[in-house]
């Protein structure tokens, strides 16, 4: 009976998830490009061998992990601070809660164009300020060292509210009598944060990280509009590479391989996270 009830959901999952995945798996063992007239021709494991030797794939993997790692870490920290702030009772909290959510509600494309203008050299507002202070304009978006950081900044600005929202929901599930009892026993607010809030918030933080990591590893629109993957390919992500390979180069076989490579990476990371969490929970028990 239980199985029967979950059947519709399982079928839906199979349709939107398993079918494309299997199709990609099949495609990754075929040459299917503008050269083959867009007809799939079996080519053994040639695509996978190419993937292993593809410097660009590995460079993009490092860049994608770097981007996802730093932005999710920053979002978690800032999101926690924001959630704690918004959980306190103070005048104007409702208004601030709404305002905080605004970046999350903005379309990424609009926001990316905005950041491109804000960091424009030399006419953007930040450089106007820099030059007003008598300093030469800074080429934020024209050096690989700084550009990827601008991309992280844009992502953090947009998605911190999402993390904050999840954590805020978590904070509201913690009963206040826990804090009262702890205070009666002479615990300081700092200790309360460490002993009560953070441990009880852990499942929510874990959920937020999982969501954000999956999104950040597949980041596309932000990078496409803000930098186009440049300069010198320094901000190109795996999703962007896969898109270029399919839509610009019309090489669908290899694009599927890049996509699957990315999928395996994500699968590995998620598994590691799950195992880490189980280990953490086990250690506590």
């Amino acid at each position: 009976m239980n199985l029967l009830l979950t059947l519709p959901a399982l079928l839906l999952l199979a349709l939107v998830f398993a079918v494309p995945l299997l199709r990609y798996g099949w495609l990754s063992f075929h040459a299917d490009s503008v050269i083959t007239g867009l007809q799939p021709v079996p080519n053994g494991g040639a695509n996978w061998l190419r993937l292993i030797e593809d410097e660009r794939f590995w460079q993009n993997t490092v860049q994608t992990l770097r981007f996802a790692g730093l932005s999710v870490a920053l979002e978690l920290l800032l999101g926690l601070a924001l959630a704690l702030l918004l959980h306190q009772r103070w005048r104007g909290r409702t208004a601030v809660r709404t305002i905080t959510l605004l970046p999350w509600a903005l379309p990424t494309a609009v926001m990316a164009l905005g950041w491109r203008w804000i960091f424009n050299d030399p006419y953007g507002p930040i450089n106007a300020l820099v030059q007003a202070l008598g300093q030469p304009a800074l080429p934020f978006l024209s050096s690989p060292a700084s550009t990827w950081f601008v991309v992280v900044l844009a992502d953090v600005w947009k998605t911190t509210p999402f993390v904050a929202l999840l954590l805020l929901a978590g904070l509201q599930t913690i009963p206040s009598d826990l804090y009262e009892a702890f205070a009666l026993d002479g615990g300081s607010p700092w200790q309360a944060l460490r002993r009560i809030t953070l441990p009880l918030l852990l499942p929510y933080a874990f959920l937020a990280v999982l969501f954000r990591l999956a999104q950040a590893l597949g980041v596309f629109d932000l990078v496409q509009i803000l930098t186009g993957g440049g300069p010198a390919g320094s901000t190109e992500t795996l999703a962007l590479y896969s898109y270029l390979t399919a839509m610009r180069f019309l090489d669908f076989g290899y694009s599927a391989t890049v996509m699957l490579g990315m999928f395996l990476l994500l699968l590995g990371l998620t598994t590691a996270l799950l195992l880490g969490r189980r280990w953490l929970a086990g250690g506590r028990a």
Binding site: I35, G37, G229
Partner: protein, 430 residues
Amino acid sequence: MGLRSTLRYAVLALLLVGLIAGGALWAQRRQPVIVTALMPAPFAQATEPIVATFNRTHPDIELRVNRGPFETESISDLAISSLLLGDSPYDLLLMDVTWTPKYAAAGWLAPLEPLLGEDALAGVVPGAQEGNRFDGHLWRIPLVADMGLLYWRTDLMAAPPRTPDELMATASRLQRSGRVRWGYVWQGRQYEGLSCVFLEVLRAFGGQWLTDSGDRVELGNPGGVAAASWLRQLIDRGITPRAVANFAEPEALQSFEAGDVALMRNWPYAWAELQKPGSKVRGKVGVTTMVATSEGATAATQGSWGFSLVSQSPHPREAALVIAALTSPEVQKDLARRLGYTPTLSALFEDPELVAANPVLPELRRALDHTVLRPLSPLYAQLSDILQRQLSEVITGERQAPAAMERAQRLSNQVLRASGVGTSAVEATP
């Protein structure tokens, strides 16, 4: 059921069938054939009155224009997505010159010579004729010509520089005198525009992107290395701002329009922008072709837009009629007069009315004699992508020019070899 009632029902059914069939036939006769064209937003807007006139004068065809995105590559993404699904809603595509071989090789286009004749391009300027044929067929009729130009400030110099050395000297002198902040701006962002800029410099130094046979990339040769080194030198000497590494056309235009720069590489559209009331350099701008060394030749990258017929179109004959009408002398003249679009038909460059309205028209005609085509290959997007990345490394100082060009050559040749082609690109080279 009796015989009579059966008969009655049969008659009734027959009457009904007749009515429906007759109605359908009648509707068929009244209904014009619908031809749908996908165009970038600016073109869709520009051709609105032209389309209205066409529909008025052709009651048997209804031309519908689908307003696409603004950006070149976004249009391609939209078109490709629909073509891949196999049931494209478009009969006609307004295409960038570099897409033709890719689309033709994918089987998405129908050859035009059976519908419009072998001499369909007869009146077109030679420089704009290239890039429309591939693999022995005609795939595209150009509507608007586009080519790379060198913009110079007439109030700062008596004549524009003719060689790369002269350009550097003039720019440096003007910067030292404090009359401009920067000497020369161009498009240095990692995107297609960078390949266009580089192709001109490459030719200026006598280099070649693809060999004449079309099966090997030669960027690592002295011409390629010299061209990339020159772009780097412009930045090293402070003639070009470092920010050029993120400059597309709007950013270059913005700094030139603000009066901050002595020279700029851009497309013809910039001329009209620079003459607008808000421009600080209005009436102080000249247009010429790119600088070149004695080993090379002045070159203008060709970047035209033209109409192609989608092979899935159910009405190829009507669609071809639309192509002929929309690329006619009247339409091109109208676009040139109203919006300053560069025509592709030779005769229009001598039209007194157009020359009077657009003083740079003779200069554009001259530039069209120096156009160069980006490699005409289905693999062009990949080759260009490789080049852009390596150039971006040179521009940002991540890699030295010789190493970067050697790498671009190696990676490009890998792509060509892996695909087992080069051969189909050979036939395409005019």
